[in-house]
Amino acid sequence: MIETVTSVKLPVDESLLIQKNRMEPLELTGREKRMTIVTGTHGDELEGQFVCYEVLRRIRENMDCLKGIVDVFPALNPLGIDSITRGIPQFDLDMNRIFPGSQEGVFTEYVAAEVVNDIAGSDLCVDVHASNIYLREMPQIRISENTATKLIPYAKLMNVDFVWVHAAATVLESTLAHSLNMMGVPTLVVEMGVGMRITKEYCYQLVDGIFNVMSELGIWTGEVNPVREPYVSVDEEVGFVNADASGIFVPAVPIWSYVEEGGHIGDILNPLTGLIEHRMEAPCTGTVFTLREYPIVYHGSLIARVLGGVKIC
């Protein structure tokens, strides 16, 4: 059933609506587990759109296999999605930096608070992100080290290629995932694909993982496709490649390829001179799991991330 979780009137003849679809068994016992899938906090990240569609499609086709509650929020930032804007239009702060929100704040903070309120009480939440328009990411789950013990067991069920356990940062305390984790709702952040595009194979991969975890939680009794075991890494294993020049980047390897230390990752070109400004090389031997998609780069632009010492592709 489609529900409006919260709404706010915009100046002229329009309301901002945060909607979710609640799927529940035909007969409720009152003891159902609840899982929430959210996406669209960043209006330019669209991979989650297909994930939401596909999850709902599979449930609809086998309603008798649904033994718990699944809430799907496809658009936490509807104004952003519908206007191809990463943030909330006319608002300075990234929506994923205002959680848990506030009833006393501006309308965006109010919306954030209402969303958190609604998700509270879920047994698991999956927040699907799609990198940004600059970088492509292999399907991965990112976990802050202070929630690792609790979340890794769930992350392993999700059919992603790897799990990145990263250092905690104060600034990340205002994300939706952090707020929910602090409230006792285990929340997994998925990063996959690239902004403004949908990569169907990644979406199917994640949807298989979502049904696997639903099955483990007793929410789904239908058939589940086999899932892969992710590689679990820590920060020290991740090598960063940042541009050493400004210009036009073209990759020399595809994402998810294995490279040797010093191996050729791509070049930064100068189309005005016809020269290579800089040859970008791998900082360590390993697997490229993040790769620059958008060609214009400045000094410092992230080009790639390499999972050091690991051949998992």
């Binding site: 002229v12 702060l93 600059y134 104060t170 960063f240 940042n242 210009g247 214009i296 400045y298 410092g300």
Partner: protein, 311 residues
């Protein structure tokens, strides 16, 4: 005065980004002053230009105290200002949320690191800043409550108000916050405007900085003593929200007194022109911050009021 490029960055096709610093005096790093970090901070740029003009004159008259150095960085993100954007034009990141920066990181982290490398280790750090909510303010000095802040020093600017903000996670990457962590006494000076130039509050800001530098023994300048500031905690301001959306008419602006029950503003139906909501003052006090745009969204903040203490 010594003008130098403190940081530069090549672009694929645009002219190089040059961040300029103006140094006055020589010796101990006394004060660093930073103007515009966001592309729409025109008022902040203007205030800095007026300050540099004043410092040039003071230096010519030998009024910079010997052994004291002042660094002024009037603009960090004119790359965005020149093309009408607020944030870094390539990826829309906010340089003021990248401090202390990282010289091996993303572009805006590198810019922040380049600026911070020059701006740190001064005794006093002053930034002309803008707020994340659009609207206008009573001129004030703002500090983060980091445990290192000193409201009594902020008082020496002689502006009517000093506001102490409890940092939220997102504030930990601002210049002000990081200055304080690196043991610089950091102050953000807010004037009335951001995108437009307001002469009166710009003059007030320049005088406030010159007054502060005089009182800290960095320059010699004859200024009137200014205000004795009221120190306010940001969390104690009363926020007044709009219960409706539409065309916004404001009756009371920053600095104005209100009494409980006064109509501060009204919201009109955008099609039919009828008043659909009157925004009433819930308390007696002075308006500190006020919504300014002609349109308003439901639940937006109409104003923040400094409550009268005797209530």
């Amino acid at each position: 005065m010594l003008k130098e490029t403190i940081y530069s960055l090549k672009a694929p096709y645009r002219d190089e980004l040059r961040i300029s610093g103006y140094r006055f005096g020589q010796g101990e790093k006394a004060a660093c002053i930073i103007g515009s970090i966001r592309g729409n901070e025109v008022q902040q740029l203007y205030v800095c230009s007026q300050l540099i003009k004043a410092l040039k004159e003071l230096e010519a008259h030998g009024s910079i105290v010997s052994g004291k150095e002042i660094l002024v960085i009037p603009s960090v993100n004119h790359y965005s200002m020149n093309i009408g954007k607020r944030f870094w034009a390539v990826d829309n990141t906010d340089i003021n949320r990248m401090f202390p920066g990282y010289d091996k990181g993303e572009t805006t982290q590198r810019i922040a690191a380049g600026v911070f490398e020059e701006a740190k280790e001064y005794s006093y750090g002053i930034q002309f800043a803008s707020f994340y909510m659009p609207g206008d303010f009573v001129p004030h000095v703002r500090m983060m409550e980091t445990g290192y802040q000193s409201a009594s020093l902020a008082n020496l600017f002689g502006l009517p108000y000093v506001v102490i903000r409890k940092p939220r996670p997102i504030d930990t990457t601002t210049l002000n916050y990081n200055w304080q962590l690196w043991e610089t006494n950091a102050f953000s000076v807010y004037t009335k405007e951001t995108d437009d130039i307001d002469e009166i509050s710009a003059k007030q800001a320049v005088s406030a900085v010159l007054r502060f530098l005089t009182r800290m023994g960095v320059i010699r300048y004859n200024s009137h003593s200014g205000y004795i500031a009221n120190v306010i905690l940001e969390d104690e301001l009363t926020s007044v929200h709009s219960d409706e959306a539409g065309i916004f008419h404001r009756f009371k602006g920053p600095g104005e007194e209100v009494h409980r029950g006064d109509v501060i503003a009204e919201v009109l139906d955008p099609y039919e022109g009828d008043v659909i909501s009157q925004i009433i003052a819930p308390t007696e006090g002075i308006i500190f911050f006020s919504h300014k745009k002609p349109l308003i969204t439901q639940r937006d903040i109409v104003c923040k009021i400094i409550r009268r203490l005797h209530e």
